[in-house]
């Protein structure tokens, strides 16, 4: 307090608003919801991304086209629009039973999962495609020349190598997904940003609440970057990837 007073600021800091009463509970709930939302969406986005990214490189045009349509459709609409679409639009078109299921399991949460998954799936797809295309075509030839099917060659050779190459850009996309999950507050998901806004509304302590939110996102993202750095080192191909330039954490 004295430091800010020294700068001539009159603001009265009350950091305790973050943990007094049920507000500590709010923050914790917000963190858990953000993690659950991001992790669920990330798993689905990766599955969609790996599948569509791989399909964009296969030697059969209809499949390539299908995957390209998915990518261009879902990455070229703003995420916010997707969230509104999946929350306000899609449920009405679902069959009765599905609507009932949704209403009992949190329609906000699952609409946010859908929006984040398809949007980031399309973006991860491009990362995967770049990775696969940087695996020399001759490796695919060598694999099928031994009698492996194209599917086996992709599963055992091409995709595992591509996944190793794309750890840095995939880390970027994962961090983006976590940060973009904050948009889910617009459809009423009580995630971290939602909770910091709620603390601000109840206490009028915007600086404290948003500082807490900022630092928590920072810590979460640094944690993910550090995990991905370890993944990168764990799966490094011996003798192949140079030591210089690897992730340092």
């Amino acid at each position: 307090m004295s430091f800010f007073a020294f700068l001539g600021m009159q603001y009265d800091f009350q950091w305790s608003v973050l943990w007094t009463g049920e507000r500590g509970q709010w923050l914790l709930q917000g963190i858990l919801t953000t993690l659950r939302l991001s992790l669920t969406s990330w798993v689905i986005a990766c599955a969609l991304g790996i599948l569509s990214g791989a399909l964009r490189t296969v030697p059969w045009k209809p499949l390539r086209l299908l995957a390209a349509v998915y990518v261009e459709f879902f990455r070229n609409v703003p995420l916010l629009v997707w969230l509104f679409f999946w929350y306000f639009g899609v449920p009405q078109a679902l069959p009765r039973a599905a609507q009932d299921w949704l209403n009992h399991h949190g329609p906000e949460f699952w609409s946010a999962v859908a929006g984040l998954s398809v949007y980031h799936g399309a973006r991860i797809s491009e990362v995967i495609r770049a990775g696969i295309q940087s695996v020399p075509k001759t490796l695919l030839e060598a694999s099928v020349a031994t009698g492996l099917s194209v599917l086996q060659a992709y599963r055992l050779i091409v995709v595992p190598i591509a996944l190793r190459l794309i750890v840095p850009p995939a880390t970027n996309e994962s961090l983006n997904l976590l940060k973009n999950s904050s948009l889910a507050l617009t459809i009423g998901v009580a995630e971290l940003t939602f909770m910091t806004r709620q603390i601000e509304t109840y206490t009028a302590k915007a600086f404290e609440a948003l500082t807490a939110g900022t630092l928590i996102y920072l810590v979460l993202c640094l944690g993910i970057a550090s995990i991905m750095g370890q993944v990168e080192r764990r799966f490094r191909i011996p003798g192949l990837i140079a030591r210089a330039g690897r992730a340092e954490h």
Binding site: T138, L139, E141, A142, A145, G147, F235, G239, L240
Partner: protein, 242 residues
């Protein structure tokens, strides 16, 4: 064993194989040479259908390649191939490089595939490298692993696409020695190479290609001593001078 009948292939407007007729018998060692761009690599890549052909017929081990009903993966299991750039799987150990296809295609157990792989590594002279990764090996060692990988499928035919062209000179012989032994064991081999010493030593027949055609063929003795075609003489003059 292998039969080409009137084979033609185009890359877009480029006519890369022109009316190729060729027959390779079981146990034969055929060396293919010619200037770069003459179609020799394309020719052997047609034998396991890495390249499709547009006209003509290719029959390999009784299976017609031009027939879409032929199970191409089944055919490829019988035809081993060794590439100029080795093309080992960089994320797998030497042992796994060799055992992968026998386990996945031939459905061998891990133990059985491992036993075959270790025998082959001993045969190519690097039994101690089983646990290493390709990038930790020299070029010559990598190419010998690639040969072992192809042999692990117990193929009926082996194709070599310039197997020593990417190697430092002092490593060429270690790879050629393995190939010479293989030829002596009676393997059917088609070898694209400029190693004329190898051709003289083990080839039964040499063919010379230029601009997509087989210009000349003969036993190594007559091919090197009395080339009939002017283009063959010009080519041999250039590569044998030193």
């Amino acid at each position: 064993m292998i039969q080409f009948r009137g084979v033609n292939k185009w890359f877009g407007p480029l006519h890369v194989l022109k009316d190729i007729d060729l027959r390779v018998s079981p146990g034969e060692v055929l060396v293919v040479c010619g200037p770069s761009g003459s179609g020799k690599s394309t020719l052997i890549r047609c034998i396991n259908k890495l390249e499709p052909i547009q006209r003509g017929e290719i029959v390999v081990d009784g299976m017609p390649l031009h027939d879409s009903a032929t199970d191409i993966t089944k055919l490829r299991a019988e035809v081993g191939m060794v590439f100029q750039q080795f093309n080992l799987y960089p994320h797998m150990t030497v042992l796994l490089n060799i055992t992968l296809a026998p386990m996945k295609v031939r459905k061998h157990s891990r133990e059985e595939a491992g036993r075959i792989a270790r025998d082959l590594l001993a045969k190519v002279g690097i039994p101690e490298k089983a646990g290493q990764y390709p990038a930790q090996l020299s070029g010559g060692q990598q190419q010998r692993v690639a040969i072992a990988r192809a042999l692990a499928m117990q193929p009926k035919i082996m194709l070599f696409d310039e197997p020593t062209s990417a190697l430092d000179p002092e490593m060429i012989n270690e790879v050629l020695d393995v190939m010479v032994n293989l030829a002596k064991e009676g393997m059917t081999m088609i070898v694209v190479t400029h190693e004329m010493g190898f051709a003289k030593k083990v080839a039964h027949r040499v063919i010379f290609m230029d601009e997509g055609r087989i210009v000349e063929e003969g036993s190594p003795g007559e091919f090197f001593a009395n080339p009939k075609e002017e283009r063959t003489r010009a080519f041999l003059g250039k590569i044998l001078v030193h």
